[in-house]
Amino acid sequence: MSVALANDCGGCATGCNTAQLTRLGIKSDGFDYIIALAGNPNTGKSTIFNKLTGLHQHVGNWAGKTVARAEGAFNLNNKKFKIVDLPGTYSLLSTSVDEEIARDFVLFGKPDVTIVVADATRLERNLNLVLQILEITDRVVVAVNLMDEAKRNDLTVDERALSRDLGVPVIPMTARRGEGVNELLNAVEKVAGGGYAARPHRIKYSDEKIENAVQTLAKQLNETFENLPNARWVALRLLEGDESIIRAVREQTLGNLKQSRGFPQLVQLEV
């Protein structure tokens, strides 16, 4: 599949100009695949982004460093990949701005692959986000980063068991030393090209009432909004009373992002 991005910057008011895009290594010709890079804060997401794109985005060791998205691009086997570095978030279900940005992109930006970066030393908390993303899409590659830190703390991570449980590729990495980058690229290419049969882990909701409600709502959502990426997920948010999703349904902005495949704004925090 090929998506033409003649002018990704079309909707920009200010602050986003060609000079900035060039600096970020973004060429505005067609991309074959779009990759989203998600993960908890402080997992080395930006390091992986830099390794993949050859850019030098500053990596600060504190939560909230990247307030908005950064974008970059790389070529692999004659295919052009655009990669979007989402703000580091613990979850996709709270209410803060960065979480909404990340969630909207994973859900409505319909990336061909979402790389979820997880911290090997805090896997349990990181899996919370991985599982949430698996609820939205099965085109996921999990990068378990900071394997050196894990080793330093006598932790071993069995990536095959993890991959079996999650149903998607899991790549152990020490990104700052470049370890695992090639493996990650291979996995991304495979998933992007449809060469990986994912069996994503899905949360089971034992309550029958919930399941019925989800099914009813999802059916209606699918009828009303064409090409909704994941109606079940939206239905669950409606059942939870998620204000931003309720607003999106009411104003019919749900899924509006998918045409542009991206946000116009491009802000980077650099000092």
């Binding site: 613990y90 979850s91 279900l93 709270s94 209410t95 030393t121 805090r122 349990e124 908390r125 919370n128």
Partner: protein, 78 residues
């Protein structure tokens, strides 16, 4: 008892979270939910906030938030 009263170096299990709305969700995001083990790692120099270890990460909470988290002290087997 509530989390703010947990002495430094001691662990407990969370039994109930009284925080509401966004704050409640934030706690859950950080892995702080009923049934979770939590340890008081250290207070800040002025006593508030306090850093807690939960699910292998260290998170600082202000007293106002720790007060809303009910805990039950667990016996440490060392």
């Amino acid at each position: 008892m509530t989390l703010n009263l947990l002495p430094t170096g001691r662990s407990a299990t969370i039994t109930k979270i009284h925080s509401k709305n966004a704050e409640r969700r934030r706690m859950f995001d950080l892995g702080i939910l009923p049934g979770t083990r939590i340890e008081n790692v250290m207070p800040s120099p002025l006593g508030d906030p306090i850093a807690y270890r939960v699910r292998s990460s260290v998170v600082a909470l202000r007293t106002e938030q720790a007060e809303l988290i009910e805990i039950e002290e667990t016996l440490e087997l060392k």
